[in-house]
Assembly symmetry: C2
Homo-oligomer: 400 residues x 2
C-alpha cells in the first residue's frame, strides 16, 4: 500500500483543517450550532427564486446553462456595477469588476495572483480563518495587527510597516462587523488606512461580507470608494442571497482584476452561469432591497437574544462583543482552553468555533466565536445556558 500522506505537498501536510469541522456541521440537527456564518434559511427567497430559476432554464438556457467568461456574464456584471453605485457611491468601470465563486474564491484568486513564497500579508488579529487559510496556501509570511472597538489600529500598522524591510504585498481587513470580533472600522481610520497604503503601494483587500447587514442606518464609506486605485473589495452573496450558488465579486484596479480573471481560469474557469443569471434577475427586480430590512431585523433580534443570554449566564465567566451587525459575537473566557471546551460543549449538544484559528501570529486559547445567525431565539437562550454549564464544569474540573 502506497503512503500517499508522505507524498503530499508541504502545504497540505502543514495546513490545519480549520473550516472542515464547521462545514461538516452545516447539516447537523442534533445540537445547537453556534459555528459557521450560515444565513438563516427562512430568509431564502423561495417564493420568487423557484419561478426565476425555471424561467431562466426555459428561456435563457444558451446563456444560463452554458460556460461563462471568467470575469462573469456581461449583463450580470452590469447589475453588480449598478448595485455598487447604490451601496458604495461609485460605479466601477467594466474592467474593474468581476464575478467570483464567493468570498473565499476571491481571496484565493488574490493570493494566487499576488503572493510569492515569503511575501508579507498583514491581517487583523484576530481575522477570518478562511482568509488566513486561503493566504497560507501560497506560503506567505503572515503578520498580525491589533484591532479594537474602532477596528484595525492604523497607527499600529504604520509602526509594523516601519519594521519591515519592504512593504507587504497585501493588507487584509474586514471593516464592517468584523469576523470574528464584530468590530467596525471608524470613518477616520478608513481614510488613514487608504492614505497609508497608497503612499507605500500596498494593495488593501477589503472584505465586505457582512457590510449590508448592519443593525442601524449609519453610512460608512467603503475603503474601495475611498481608494479605488489601491483597494480590491471582495464580497459574497452567500449572506444576503443564498450560498447554494457560489457567488461574490471583486472590484479594484483594472490591472489587478484582469489578473484575477486569468487566475480564475484555472480555479473553476467561471462562476456558475445559472446562479449569475438568477442573482442578476433578483437584483434587477429590486428583491434584494426589499429583502435586506427583513434580514437585518431578524439578525438584530437574534443578536439581542444572544447578548441577553450572555448577560444572564456568563456574568463573571467571560467578556464579549455586542454585535452592531453581522453574524458574530466574540467571547473571551479567561483561564479556559476553548479548544478543550469545544469537546465538553459537544457532549452538552452545543457547538462553536474555538478562537485559536483566527490568530495569525498571536497564540491565544481563551477566545471563541458564537454565530447567532441560524439559531432561533429560544435555542440561542438554551445554547448559551448549555455553554455556560460546559464552562463551569471545566472550571470545576480544573479546580479539583
Amino acid at each position: 500500500v502506497i503512503d500517499w500522506t508522505a507524498r503530499l505537498a508541504r502545504r497540505a501536510r502543514t495546513t490545519p483543517d480549520l473550516i472542515g469541522g464547521i462545514l461538516a456541521l452545516a447539516g447537523a440537527r442534533d445540537l445547537i450550532n453556534f459555528s459557521g456564518g450560515f444565513p438563516d434559511p427562512s430568509l431564502f427567497a423561495t417564493d420568487v427564486l423557484g419561478d426565476l430559476a425555471r424561467k431562466l432554464i426555459e428561456n435563457d438556457a444558451a446563456v444560463a446553462l452554458q460556460y461563462s467568461s471568467s470575469e462573469g456574464i456581461a449583463s450580470t456584471r452590469a447589475a453588480l456595477a449598478d448595485r455598487l453605485a447604490a451601496t458604495d457611491g461609485r460605479r466601477p468601470a467594466d474592467a474593474e469588476l468581476m464575478v467570483t465563486s464567493g468570498g473565499i474564491d476571491a481571496i484565493t484568486l488574490i493570493a494566487k495572483t499576488m503572493l510569492d513564497a515569503g511575501d508579507v500579508v498583514v491581517v487583523e488579529e484576530p481575522s477570518y480563518l478562511g482568509a488566513v487559510s486561503g493566504f497560507m496556501a501560497f506560503d506567505p509570511t503572515l503578520r498580525g495587527v491589533p484591532l479594537d472597538a474602532d477596528g484595525l489600529d492604523v497607527e499600529a500598522l504604520a509602526a509594523l510597516l516601519r519594521t519591515l524591510p519592504s512593504p507587504p504585498k497585501l493588507v487584509y481587513t474586514i471593516p464592517d462587523f468584523q469576523n470574528p470580533s464584530g468590530h467596525t472600522l471608524s470613518v477616520e481610520r478608513r481614510s488613514a488606512l487608504v492614505d497609508l497604503c497608497r503612499r507605500q503601494g500596498i494593495l488593501i483587500v477589503e472584505d465586505v461580507a457582512y457590510s449590508q447587514l448592519g443593525f442601524d442606518d449609519a453610512a460608512r464609506p467603503s475603503l474601495w470608494s475611498l481608494g479605488p486605485d489601491v483597494v480590491v473589495q471582495i464580497g459574497t452573496f452567500s449572506k444576503v442571497f443564498f450560498p447554494g450558488v457560489r457567488l461574490g465579486w471583486a472590484v479594484g484596479p483594472a490591472a489587478v482584476v484582469r489578473q484575477l480573471s486569468i487566475a480564475k481560469q484555472n480555479s473553476d474557469q467561471c462562476a456558475g452561469a445559472l446562479g449569475q443569471r438568477m442573482l442578476e434577475e433578483y437584483l434587477r427586480a429590486g428583491h434584494l432591497e426589499q429583502h435586506l430590512p427583513v434580514a437585518r431585523a431578524l439578525y438584530r433580534d437574534r443578536a439581542a437574544a444572544l447578548t441577553g443570554a450572555l448577560e444572564r449566564h456568563f456574568d463573571g465567566l467571560a467578556t464579549w462583543t455586542v454585535p452592531r451587525g453581522g453574524f458574530f459575537s466574540w467571547l473571551r473566557v479567561p483561564g479556559v482552553d476553548t479548544m478543550a471546551l469545544a469537546e465538553v460543549a459537544r457532549a452538552n449538544k452545543v457547538a462553536f468555533v474555538p478562537g485559536a484559528g483566527f490568530f495569525a501570529e498571536a497564540s491565544d486559547t481563551e477566545h471563541l466565536r458564537l454565530s447567532y445567525s441560524r439559531i432561533s431565539e429560544s435555542d440561542i437562550k438554551e445554547g448559551v445556558a448549555r455553554l455556560a454549564a460546559a464552562v463551569r464544569s471545566m472550571r470545576e474540573r480544573q479546580a479539583s
Copy 2:
C-alpha cells in the same frame, strides 16, 4: 499611480492567458467558433431541469440553497457512487469520493495538495491546456511523454522515469478521446500504465471528461477501476449535464481525497448545493442514461460532418485525427504557424485554438484544435471552407 503589474506574483507575470480567449468567445455569435469544449445547448434538458430546480427551491431550500460540506452533499455523493458503479464497475467507499466544481477545480485541488515547487508532473504531449495551466500555478517541472493512436506511450514513460532522479508526483492522462488529439488509450496500455505507476508510487490523475461520449459501444476499463489504490479519477458534468452549474467529481485513495476536500475549503468552500441537488435528482430519475445516446448521436454526426469537410477542403493542406468520441479533431498544418493563422481566420469569421498551448515541453506551431460540438453541420462545412481559405491565403503570402 501604482504599477500593480510590478507587484504581481511571479506565476501571474509568467502564466500565459491560454483559456481567456476561448471563454471570451463563449457567447460570440458573429463567427463560426471551433474553439472551446462547449456542449451544444440544444442538448440541455430544459424540459425537466426547470421544474426540477423550482421544486428543489420550494421544497428543499435548507439543503439546496445552503452551504454544503466541502466533500459534497452526502445524498449527492451517494448518487455519484451509484453512477460510478454503473460506468466503472466499482462503487467507491464514502471516503474515496468528493464533489468538485468541475474538472479544472479538481486539477487545481490536486496540484495544490500534491505539488511543491519543482516537483515533476508528467503530461501527455499534447495535453489539455487547462490542466497544464492548472498545474503550472504551483510551479512544478512539467515533462511530456508522446502519445500515438493507442494513447499515452507507456514504454516512453518508463524510459523517461529511468532518467529522473526520483519518481514524479503525478502522471496526468486523458485516456478516452483525448483533448486535444482525440486518441484513446488501448486496454493493454491501461494495465501497463497502472502497474508501472503502482510499482513506483506515482499518483495517476485520470481525466474522464469525454469518456461517456464515445461514438461506439466499446467498453474500456477506467484506470481508476484497474487501480483504485493509485489513480485519482476526475470528471466533469459540464459535457453531459450542463456547465452553468460547476460540477464534477474526484474519486481515488481516501488519503488523497480527504486532503482534496480540505484544499477545497480555501478554493470555493464547496460546490454549489443547488447544482448538486439538481444533478442528484437528474441522475436518480434516469435522465442521464436516456440523454447520453441522443448526445452521442448528435456529436457523432457533427464529427462526421467535420471529417467530411476536412477531406473536401484540406486534402494536401493538413492531416487530422478522426474522432471516435468527444468534441475534437487535431490538425497538423505543415509549414503554417497556427497562431498567425488564428488572426487570419478571425478576419474570415472563423475561430479555433492554436496548438502551441497544448504542449508542455515540445515547441510546436503547426497544430490546431477544432471543436465541432456546438456548431451546426452546415456551419461546420462553411467554417472548414473558410479555414482552408485562410490557410491558402497564408501560404500564398509566404510564397510571395
